[in-house]
């Protein structure tokens, strides 16, 4: 689950440089504002690796894709509504 290309998304959240719990809070805010959107979060916070999947379980979202950021700085997380399915592969 990695690649230099990013999957299709409705909104990009570049939270690189932000430490926990701020990237997850940004994700939660955007989810509240745009409940049906496919959100792509970029984060270089080590805690996000665990906290984004944990938050998705708590808030019933699907973590559809995880990979490296194209420029190599941090990771990318595609978070979508529970019913929708993300691209399994790019």
């Amino acid at each position: 689950m990695s690649g230099s290309q990013l999957p299709a998304h409705d909104r990009l959240l570049d939270e690189r440089g932000q430490r926990c719990p701020l990237p997850v809070i940004a994700l939660a805010r955007m989810t509240t504002a745009l409940p049906g959107a496919r959100l792509l979060l970029l984060s270089d916070d080590a805690a996000a690796e665990t906290d984004v999947p944990a938050w998705c379980r708590l808030r019933h979202r699907t973590l559809a894709w995880v990979g490296d950021s194209p420029d190599g700085r941090g990771r990318a997380y595609l978070v979508v509504p529970l019913a929708a399915s993300g691209p399994a592969e790019l």
């Binding site: 430490r19 926990c20 916070d45 080590a46 805690a47 665990t50 999947p53 944990a54 938050w55």
Partner: protein, 407 residues
């Protein structure tokens, strides 16, 4: 190390010398100290034994004059006492300079003792960092971890497969997890290890003096300051017949297992503390387990979006961990410290490394807003109730500064 950032206990906090309303016992610990899993306050029995032994036990126990014999007698008595309480023979027990040193010597000696078999060391993914670091130092890339479930309990199926591979020189498994309290299936792991002739190192740091210790270990390690003895004393027990070879180039003392001069007065105090806490344990464990049950039940009722971690029943009696969604762990600890409570956190913002706790990560648990409460023996029930009164407002304040209402 440093996965568990600490908040220094409030020296200014009023000591709760009031009798405990439940047990009637007077609390020995400063009010609000709820971080016993980091270190326990010195037990009064240890203080008394230490002061006596400083006068009587300073001699070199390996020499042949009367001061030496006095130290030797004290050391032998301490060894017999500790051995009886951990289920070992006295000649199997060595005292080290710390729990971490005991782990390092235990792992290193087992690896060296089996160097013809191979180099693979298996540890659960949630072992204390001292175990993971010792394995890494001893065998590098051959240090492998075995996954755990969401409660933090090692996956026995994965262990069964891993231990059957060739070249495994030891398995390391803690008695119970130091961050979330979940007990590990040591007896079942011991059976798997025995079936393949692989020694099992059991880190009992969080259980000694708190919880019954399991059998089936080849090497057992523990740490005095976790049970109310002084810091600077660890226990390394090596079962008779286990292939263990010293890694110390120096002429080692303590049954040939530990380099350096043994601190006899501290060892005497450690043994006195263990005797005392073991005497009190049946009653005290039940009381602390009930207080932890109260915390586990009440916190999610009082605080929205609180996750209770670890096994609710098969767990250490005195320890519980929570993660609060949208909470900054560092701010949470600082606010609780201001309110007079010393607790710790596995959140990355609290760690020197800025990495989240490897235990929480291995469990897949929310790592931010993490809070570990560990009750010292003799804690006043009133402390737990006051903590429950203060916590909801503290969490709400931290969340308010981050503007997370309605998320």
């Amino acid at each position: 190390m440093g996965h568990y950032g600490r908040v220094v206990a409030h020296a200014s906090q009023t000591s709760s010398a009031a009798p405990d309303p439940v047990s009637g016992a007077r609390s020995r610990t400063p009010g609000g100290y709820l971080d016993a899993a980091s270190t326990a306050p010195l037990h009064p029995a240890a203080r008394e034994a230490l002061l006596t032994a400083l006068d009587d036990g300073w001699g070199d126990p390996s020499r042949r004059y009367h001061q030496a014999r006095r130290a030797r007698l004290l050391l032998d008595a301490a060894r017999e006492s500790v051995a009886a309480r951990i289920g070992a023979r006295p000649d199997e027990v060595s005292f080290t300079g710390s729990g971490t040193q005991a782990v390092g010597l235990g792992v290193g000696g087992l690896v060296r003792g089996r160097d013809r078999v191979g180099r693979r060391v298996l540890s659960s993914a949630v072992e204390h960092s001292s175990v993971l670091h010792a394995a890494q130092a001893a065998v590098g890339d051959e240090a492998r971890t075995v996954a755990v479930d969401e409660l933090g309990r090692v996956d026995l199926g994965a262990l069964r497969v891993a231990v059957a591979e060739p070249g495994v020189v030891l398995v390391a498994l803690q008695t119970a997890n130091h961050e979330v309290g979940t007990r590990q299936p040591v007896a079942a792991a011991a059976e798997l290890c025995a079936a393949h002739g692989v020694p099992l190192l059991v880190d009992a740091a969080q259980s000694a003096g708190r919880d019954p210790l399991p059998e089936g270990w080849s090497v057992l390690t523990a740490s005095s300051h976790k049970w109310g003895g002084p810091a600077g004393v660890g226990v390394l027990a090596v079962r008779t017949g286990v292939r263990w070879r010293s890694t110390s180039p120096e002429g080692a003392l303590e049954q040939g297992r530990v380099p350096g001069f043994v601190d006899v007065p501290a060892v005497v105090a450690a043994a006195a503390a263990l005797e005392a806490v073991e005497r009190e344990r049946p009653r005290e464990s039940a009381r602390l387990a009930a207080l932890v049950d109260r915390l586990r039940a009440r916190v999610p009722e009082l605080v929205p979006d609180a996750v209770v971690l670890g096994d609710p029943r098969d767990r250490l009696p005195h320890l519980v961990t929570f993660s609060f969604l949208y909470v900054d762990g560092e701010a949470l600890l600082a606010d609780l410290d201001r309110a007079g409570f010393a607790v710790s956190s596995g959140s990355s913002c609290v760690a020197d490394s800025l990495q989240p706790s490897h235990v929480l990560a291995a469990m897949g648990a929310l790592t931010h807003g993490n809070l570990r409460v560990s009750l010292p023996a003799g804690v006043a029930a009133d402390d737990v109730d006051r903590f429950l009164e203060v916590l909801p407002d503290v969490v709400a304040r931290v969340r308010a500064t981050l503007g997370t209402a309605g998320l």
